[in-house]
């Protein structure tokens, strides 16, 4: 049901067709019990563009074609029995099965054809198109590698072509337009039919020539092969064996389950049978699991138990690889329990080990015994993969559950038990690693350590502590881990540190980079800004992160954002803005953090891509609150941009520097509004605060910012607010000075202090800073404690242009010098450098001298003017 629901929701662009089809599907399934499974899938696969299903059907059809090929040797084209007589040598045994399969397909075929006919009656092209796709697929399958097409199919396509031509002609004549989806479907059909009919042209011609005759001939042929087959004795063709067994073995187990007792001795045999059917179609996996559960109950030796559990768990996972995306919850839970039982068994029976590189035990009659001189009985399997799979499945299931329901919370509680499993897996692999004769690769250990880290890094310390306590309690008091000792695990910071250090030492490439990112994330989350920043910088990941896989890039983005938020909490507005710029400035936060798919307006995304993107989404509990993120980013941008705007507004020669384009755009939009109501969302609040700040009303600005609700989500809300109001006060003062400096001769520091409720020393420190950075042309008078603004510093346009030109000229020279230096690889360095140093030195010295002596200036100035005039005059004359 959820599948249908999702399908309808996702393919919103084609929702009408999708809905229609799903209704059809359910009707179909209700009236024909036998077909329940297959057709339902088919309907969805054919029509619903939703990701999983179409993919799954592709897989399935691939699988089927594979198995067809297998069977092809023994009973070449045995699906073609109705049409060809080549299948005589095929073995007889298959008959009953084959028959039913054939019937089923024929029925499917008929159903589809009926649908198409219905569509023709109603002129419903979407339906026709969908059914046609399905039909052609069925036919291909029926046809086998080199068979003939069924007659009904030929009839249908021929009729369809006629009907379509008619419809097209009609569409041209009638002024009434078809609706868009229908028209599209019609066009698609036109293409498809053209293509298909070409390959069946001969048959179609035959059909057109004499309709009745053609159909009859097909009926004659169909029953023909049946009697021939009966004559063939039971063959023991070795190649055909597996197919036979999977059919037979399957029925035997299901039927005989009640009659045949599962004895401990026969367990291995049963296992073998089940293993053989694995991955084959037509196997009922839930049935198998039932059998395995019974086997597990009967198993009495550790070896048997291990073997049964390994198979059981992997069959449970197989269940999930099917249609529904995530594994059913109850199966997940039992898998989790079985895995933990397995760990228990392995811990109690140390002589048995499960390793990846063990050889398969072929003899079902005997149980392997400990060889003299060997310490272990190896069983093939990979516990780490199981653990990883279990983890993945939980993630997938969390992805598909609506995070605002209690179901999500319930599901999330399973993470605790999952963490236990990961922990035990880690302990186990670690103990295996110690045994030299087992040759467990370092990679395996790394993988599981990484999993553990991934469950820890984004959580607050208290939560991690609870997890860890549970784990250690579960394993008992006498177990110790080398990688993360009991003592180290007590403190979350220590734990993350040890896990990461282990990975730094023992792994490389992507795992190492991910470990680094996890540690940075953890540090940033726990307010260790400088450590986090230094690690981030030292990792040099900025340069090579584009070469990594998408998952790591997402982790990188998340880490970056977390570092930015941490800087904000520390009150480092500039750093915070700088760090967040890359992610938040892009306007694609959702995508970059994998917390939602953006609506694609301009370029279409292929379903394949969309599916991939969905599978990358993080479960909700790992999300970083996007609204909070936006709020922080905008607040920081405001604090930086508003003084800058005021500064550039008053003096034209400062280059139009833009810190955040996103913020500027929002501000412009906000200013264009004729009427602004009271702020409703975060953005409104920040925008109105910006306006107030620009006007010098810092108190109003503070109120606006403080009224934003989302601050409550941060720890220490009060501290954050105090920090913000302090920043607003200071930036407000700066903005005020920039904006109103041209209108004042002097301003008293005292007055400024009372206006902005800052201490006079603080005010003069801020002013000093501005003067010394040459942002403000003013000076302080210590005696009267006034700010004295200098007059006549505004430049004319020509003057500022001249300055820019001279800047550019000198940067050109510098570039040239650098180029030469690179070109000559330092051979002319000795010659070049002292020259430059001396030149600059002289220039600087003289510059200060010139500035000091006021007298010389006027003369030079005059000379300068004359010179310019002369040049201009020459230009005019020339």
């Amino acid at each position: 049901m959820s599948k249908f629901f999702r399908g309808g929701e996702e393919s919103s662009s084609e929702s009408d067709s999708g809905d229609e089809v799903s209704i059809n599907g359910s009707e179909e399934s209700s009236d024909d019990e036998q077909q329940v499974k297959k057709p339902q899938n088919k309907f969805l696969a054919g029509n619903d563009d939703s990701d999983d299903d179409s993919d799954e059907s592709e897989e399935e059809s691939e699988e089927e074609s594979d198995s067809d090929d297998d069977a092809g040797k023994g009973g070449a084209g045995y699906f073609l029995k109705d049409a060809s007589s080549e299948s005589e040598d095929s073995d007889d045994d298959k008959r009953s099965a084959v028959k039913s399969a054939k019937d089923k397909r024929a029925e499917e075929l008929d159903a589809s054809i009926k649908q198409i006919e219905n569509g023709q009656k109603n002129g419903d092209w979407t339906l026709i198109s969908a059914e046609f796709d399905k039909l052609s697929r069925q036919v291909e399958r029926l046809q086998g590698p080199r068979g003939k097409a069924p007659k009904t199919w030929i009839r249908t396509i021929a009729e369809l072509e006629d009907f379509m031509n008619e419809a097209l002609a009609k569409a041209k004549v009638t002024p009434k337009k078809m609706n868009a989806t229908q028209a599209r479907a019609l066009n698609a059909m036109k293409q498809k039919i053209k293509k298909t009919n070409k390959s069946y042209q001969k048959d179609i011609d035959a059909y057109r020539a004499d309709k009745d005759d053609f159909m009859e001939s097909s009926e004659e042929e169909a029953p023909a092969p049946a009697p021939t087959k009966v004559k063939i004795p039971k063959s023991s063709d070795p190649i055909a064996q597996p197919t036979e067994e999977d059919m037979e073995g399957f029925t035997e187990v299901t039927q005989g389950g009640r009659t045949v007792k599962y004895t401990p001795e026969s367990i291995l045999k049963h296992l073998r049978a089940i293993l053989d059917t694995r991955g084959k179609k037509n196997t009922d996996r839930s049935e198998q699991i039932g059998v395995l559960e019974k086997l597990h109950a009967t198993a009495n030796t550790p070896y048997q138990q291990i073997r049964v559990l390994l198979t059981l768990i992997s069959s449970r996972f197989d269940l999930a690889s099917g249609s529904s995306g995530a594994m059913p919850v109850e199966h997940w839970k039992s898998a989790e329990k079985e895995l933990s039982t397995l760990f228990n068994i392995l811990e109690q029976n140390k002589e048995y080990v499960v390793v990846e590189n063990a050889e398969e035990w072929e003899d079902d009659e005997k149980v392997p015994v400990l060889q003299p001189g060997e310490k272990h009985i190896k069983v093939a399997g990979s516990l780490v993969s199981f653990v990883e799979r279990l983890d993945d499945e939980l993630g997938r299931s969390l992805q598909s559950i609506d995070p605002h329901t209690s179901e999500y919370i319930e599901r999330l509680q399973d993470e605790g038990s999952l963490y236990n499993i990961i922990f035990r897996g880690l302990l186990y692999t670690e103990s295996l690693r110690k045994e030299e004769d087992l040759d467990v690769s370092q990679d395996t250990v790394n993988r599981i350590v990484m999993r553990r880290l991934e469950h820890v890094y984004f959580k607050p310390a208290q939560v991690i502590k609870v997890f860890e306590d549970n784990c250690w309690k579960a394993v008992g008091s006498d177990v110790e881990s080398d990688i993360t000792g009991r003592a180290a695990s007590a403190d979350a910071t220590n734990l993350v540190g040890t896990l990461c250090n282990y990975l730094f030492i023992h792994s490389d490439g992507i795992i190492r980079a991910r470990a680094m990112l996890c540690q940075v994330y953890f540090l940033a989350l726990h307010n260790e800004y400088y450590k986090a920043r230094d690690m981030m910088l030292m990792s040099h990941l900025q340069e090579n992160i584009p070469n990594f896989d998408v998952q790591s890039q997402i982790l990188y983005n998340r880490t970056l954002v977390q570092v930015g938020l941490c800087a904000f909490r520390k009150g480092l507005v500039y750093d915070a803005q700088n760090t967040l710029q890359e992610i938040c400035g892009s306007g694609r936060q959702k995508e970059l953090l994998a917390q939602g798919v953006m609506m694609q307006r301009f370029n279409q995304v292929s379903p394949e891509q969309e599916r991939l993107e969905k599978s990358r989404q993080l479960p909700f509990h790992m999300h970083i609150n996007l609204e909070l993120l936006e709020c922080v980013y905008l607040a920081c941008s405001m604090l930086l941009e508003i003084p800058l705007l005021a500064q550039t507004g008053s003096s034209p020669d400062v280059k139009k520097r833009v810190i955040s384009k996103t913020y500027r755009r929002m501000l412009e939009y906000h200013e264009r509004q004729i009427f602004t109501g009271p702020p409703e969302n975060t953005r409104d609040h920040v925008m109105q605060a910006s306006k107030a700040l620009a006007a010098g009303e810092w108190k109003k600005s503070t109120t606006f910012i403080h009224n934003i609700k989302i601050w409550d989500l941060m720890a220490n809300t009060e501290d954050i607010k105090t920090m913000l109001s302090k920043q607003i006060q200071e930036e407000g003062l700066r903005t005020y000075l920039f904006t109103y400096a041209p209108f004042y001769d002097t301003l008293s520091v005292e007055t400024l202090g009372t206006m902005f409720e800052l201490e006079p020393t603080k005010v003069s420190a801020i002013i000093s800073k501005m003067i010394s950075h040459e942002e403000l042309s003013a000076s302080l008078d210590q005696v009267t404690s006034n700010v004295i603004f200098r007059k006549g510093v505004e430049l004319s346009r020509l003057q500022s242009l001249a300055l820019t030109l001279s800047d550019k000229a000198s940067s050109l020279i510098e570039t040239n010098e650098r180029t030469l230096e690179q070109r000559t690889q330092g051979s002319s360095n000795a010659f070049d450098r002292p020259g430059r140093g001396r030149g600059g030195g002289r220039g600087g010295a003289r510059g200060r001298g010139g500035g000091g002596r006021g007298g010389g200036n006027t003369q030079r100035q005059a000379g300068g003017t004359q010179f310019t005039g002369g040049a201009l005059g020459a230009a005019v004359r020339g």
Binding site: F831, G847, G851
Partner: protein, 442 residues
């Protein structure tokens, strides 16, 4: 060793414990000696005794047995050194003889003119030549190295340096050559032979850049060590000062300082600020000052001491009150620091200039009384100081003695002047460039 360091750093003022791991035993010795003297001067008997015993422990592992024995006698007030020292002394003498015997032949050879004339710049050919003509073997060359090391341990730095130099000329073993270079650097530093030190620093630096190229960790460690060793010449030799400062400000070394030893910033600040009076190269100095302000800001979360606080207050916070306070503390720190003690006065003087400079930049009228207070002087001295300053730097300022104020005249920055300044160097630089291009293409 640890006792010693904890004793020294009990009041937290000395950063010796941080320096110590990066210095050689022999290089550390002068520092401890200095601490010892300080303690004695301040009359801290207990501390001085502790330091002295630490000193003995420090040197026990070396071959300077005589010196250790005399130190021991001094400390314990006895004439008779314990027997173990005597025994050690005998062993050392025996070793000495052994080494001398081993190197006698090659040492003799290397004093003969005809042998030296036969040597070329190619090491392999040299070795071949010596082998053929004089029967020198690889072992003999290596014996030179061992003997050099032995001499160094004995405190015979001069002979050690010679020995290591000879070894370096002959040996082809890269690791040992690198070790010999370090040894020679230490020997030259301890002999206060600064010109040679500068050369050796260059050698070591090149070695780090090339030999350890693929091992960033070792590069970092070695650079850290080199930075610490360079502190000796930095504050003792005028000629060594500039090249070493240049080296410190190069990207690789400033990164090293920031990553592994931010406390060296203190010395960097002191060197840059005291360097201003030398005046030759003021734009370079301005640039260095700007850089150091940046580094201080970057490292503020990791390392602060009065000197960084001073820079922070003056250039980042523009808080003159705290700058004055920091300067007072910085002066104390400088006086008690081994490296900075000699230049403490110069530092304070230069720092006052800096305060005054930025004060003049910001204020247009100031009270002499306040200003002298900020400079840490009394009003009369302050006035004198300001007059001197105005005269020296030709500042555009006048003293109004009736009001007791200094009036600054800030001429507005002339646009035309700015354009001229910016384009002034252009012609010269283009010429240089042109010449370089011609040279490169010819």
């Amino acid at each position: 060793m640890e006792d010693l360091l904890t004793t020294v750093s009990t009041d937290g003022s000395s950063i010796m414990p941080k320096l110590a791991p990066h210095l050689s035993r022999h290089l550390l010795f002068p520092l401890i000696q200095y601490e010892n003297e300080q303690a004695e001067e301040q009359g801290l008997e207990e501390k001085a005794r502790k330091i002295a015993s630490g000193k003995i422990k420090l040197l026990e592992d070396t071959n300077m047995t005589d010196y250790v024995a005399s130190l021991y006698c001094e400390l314990h007030g006895t004439d008779e050194a314990p027997a173990e020292y005597n025994k050690k002394r005998q062993e050392v003498l025996a070793d000495l003889e052994k080494h001398e015997a081993a190197t006698a032949k090659i040492a003799d050879l290397l004093t003969q003119d005809e042998v030296l004339n036969g040597l070329r710049s190619d090491k392999l050919a040299n070795l071949e030549f010596l082998k053929k003509e004089h029967g020198v073997t690889m072992d003999m060359v290596n014996a030179l190295f061992d003997f050099g090391q032995f001499q160094f341990r004995c405190g015979q730095y001069g002979p050690a340096a010679d020995m290591l130099y000879q070894f370096r000329v002959l040996s082809t073993d890269n690791d040992k050559v690198a070790a010999a270079t370090w040894g020679k650097l230490a020997s030259e530093i301890l002999q206060t032979n600064w010109d040679a030190v500068v050369d050796e620093i260059k050698n070591v630096r090149e070695g780090i850049d090339t030999r350890l190229f693929s091992n960033p960790r070792a590069q970092l460690d070695h650079r850290t060590m080199l930075v610490h060793w360079c502190l000796f010449p930095l504050f003792n030799s005028d000629t060594a000062r500039d090249p070493i400062l240049d080296m410190f400000f190069s990207a690789a070394f400033i990164n090293t300082i920031q990553t592994s030893c931010p406390w060296v910033l203190r010395y960097l600040i002191a060197a840059v600020i005291t360097g201003r009076n030398r005046g030759r190269n003021s734009s370079l100095q301005q640039k260095q000052l700007k850089d150091i302000v940046r580094y201080v800001r970057q490292e503020a979360y990791e390392y602060t001491d009065p000197l960084t606080q001073f820079v922070n207050a003056l250039y980042i916070a523009h808080d003159f009150e705290s700058a004055r306070e920091a300067l007072r503390l910085a002066e104390q720190v400088c006086r008690s620091d081994f490296f900075l003690a000699s230049s403490a006065d110069a530092f304070v003087d230069a720092a006052r200039h800096l305060i005054c400079e930025s004060y003049c930049k910001i204020f247009s009228r100031m009270n002499i009384h306040d200003l002298s207070e900020k400079l840490g002087l009394n009003p009369a001295d302050g006035e004198k100081w300001i007059v001197n300053l105005i005269r020296e730097t030709r500042l555009d300022a006048k003293i109004d003695s009736q009001d007791g104020t200094v009036v600054m005249n800030h001429p507005p920055n002339n646009v035309y002047q700015q354009v001229i300044e910016k384009t002034k160097g252009g012609f010269f630089r283009t010429q240089v460039l042109n010449a370089a291009v011609t040279k490169a293409s010819s």
